[in-house]
Amino acid sequence: MTKEMTDTTTTRVIEIIAEQAVLEPGDVSLDQTLEDLGIDSLGLVESIFAIEEAFDISVPFNANDPSESDFDISSVAAIVAAVKTLVTQQAS
């Protein structure tokens, strides 16, 4: 296990993504993309919902143009980083 994966935010995000991909969390690595994991557009929208619920944050994401949303979904690592940013920004 890499060092980044030891923090709880990372672990939780990976658990959410793994559940959507029907994989064990241990089989999801940070450099993978959602496409690598077989997560389609509906799976992505569900993952984002689960992330919002888990971290009590609001994720800016429009399914019409995922690449232009402020929320970077280009890889698992990018999603973890984006979630961490949002958790910090939206902590109140």
Binding site: S41, L42, V45, I48, F49, S58, F61, N62, A63, N64
Partner: protein, 403 residues
């Protein structure tokens, strides 16, 4: 074969309280989308829609009727009154049994549901009004139309999400053609602009926060609207015999299922519906001058719809006009095909093509003549109206100039 013509049209939507107002707005390319106004709107992230503003139910209906008519039924009754009034038809005796009503809606009495859930869940009340069920049921509007105008023939409601009213009008047309009825009232209605209605759509993340821009490269989602449009379909000889003013002929209809995905559209399913409607109407691709697109302003629909049109029409796709009027009246979900049929009839009767407003940047994946931003004059002999629903259910109608 029995032919079917349209002899009455009525509407209420964000662009106007009747057909003349709506067509004027379409000619001018006016936008009916604005800030939503209803309880708890501040808890939504999507706060725009094409709402019927300044609408007062008491100006149209008495207390007893308001107790029974959800907003979607009220809209239907107003549109039906305009459409049936225009025909001058009245229904009694044999005539009543040969006339029916088929309407589309997706959410039915959504405002009634929302208000009453709020009352029992949020306010903790343990009693609801006795008419909640007859008010919210999806067939309430069709039933009230049949009661008000004494239509005793085939009558029901169709719910196929965004294709509901096209499916309803297609059914009505086939019933006249097949001999089940001589006159059918058909169309659709939707009134989903309430907290619960928009909150549910928000979840899907396909709604735009700022504008509906169909076919534009910078489009970012759909915007909901509300309202109704209702038509009177009549068997051609029946209409001719009484010297009716015929607005257009409805010549073809086809429906298909993608059988693939619950939300993502399929080019093949849409193309098969388009080709089917042409074939059913005895039309060649070259006969179609104008298509009123489904054109929701989502990335997925507009791209797939343009590809379907290109497939179905071949080289003629570059010669025809295709516009989405949703940027003006919003997406009326189960009522949308009905309001959009008004634009098709305007094209046939007045030679005016309603524009796709809000168009800013060309998208190579939507490289058709989308009539950007300004209405255009054109001689139109035949049109199509597309509707492609969530669930992959497609319904396309083909219209011709009045015979």
């Amino acid at each position: 074969m029995r032919r079917v013509v349209i002899t009455g049209q009525g509407t209420i939507n964000a662009l106007g309280r009747n057909v003349p107002q709506t067509l004027e707005a379409m000619r001018e390319g006016r936008c009916g989308i604005g800030p939503l106004e209803f309880q708890d709107v501040e808890r939504l992230s999507i706060r725009i829609g094409a709402q019927v503003k300044g609408y007062d139910p008491e100006a149209h209906f008495n207390r007893q009727k308001i107790a029974l008519f959800d907003r979607f039924t009220q809209f239907t009754m107003l549109a039906a009154a305009e459409a049936i009034g225009q025909t001058g038809l009245s229904f009694s005796g044999e005539m009543a049994t040969r006339a029916g009503v088929v309407l589309g809606t997706s959410g039915g009495g959504m405002n009634t549901l929302d208000e009453n859930y709020r009352s029992v869940y949020e306010d903790g009340k343990n009693r609801v009004h006795p008419f909640v069920v007859p008010k919210l049921m999806n067939n309430a509007a069709a039933s009230h139309v049949s009661m008000e105008w004494n239509l005793k023939g085939p009558s029901f409601t169709v719910a196929t999400a965004c294709a509901s009213s096209n499916h309803a009008m297609g059914q009505a047309m086939q019933m006249i053609r097949g001999g089940m009825a001589d006159v059918m009232v058909a169309g659709g209605s939707e009134a989903m602009l309430c907290f619960g209605g928009i909150k549910a759509w928000e979840g899907l993340r396909v709604m735009s926060k700022d504008a509906c821009r169909p076919f534009s490269a910078n489009r970012n989602g759909m915007v909901q609207g509300e309202g109704a449009a209702v038509f009177v379909f009549e068997e051609y000889e029946h209409a001719k015999a009484r010297g009716a003013d015929i607005l257009a002929e409805i010549v073809g209809f086809a429906m298909t299922s993608d059988a693939s995905d619950i939300v993502m559209p399929s080019k093949q399913g849409a193309a098969r519906a388009i080709t089917g409607a042409l074939r059913d109407g005895g039309l060649n691709p070259e006969d179609i001058c104008y298509i009123n697109a489904h054109g929701t302003g989502t990335a997925a629909n507009d791209k797939s719809e343009c590809a379907a049109v290109a497939d179905a029409f071949g080289h003629h796709a570059d010669d025809l006009m295709i516009s989405s009027t949703k940027a003006m009246h919003g997406h009326l979900i189960g009522g949308t095909g009905a309001v959009e049929l008004l634009a098709c009839i305007m094209a046939l009767r007045e030679g005016v093509i309603a524009p796709t407003i809000g168009y800013q940047d060309a998208d190579p994946e939507c490289a058709l003549d989308v009539v950007p931003n300004e209405a255009r004059e054109a001689k139109v002999g035949a049109t199509l109206s597309n509707a492609f629903a969530f669930g992959g259910l497609n319904a396309v109608l083909a219209l011709r100039k009045a015979p």
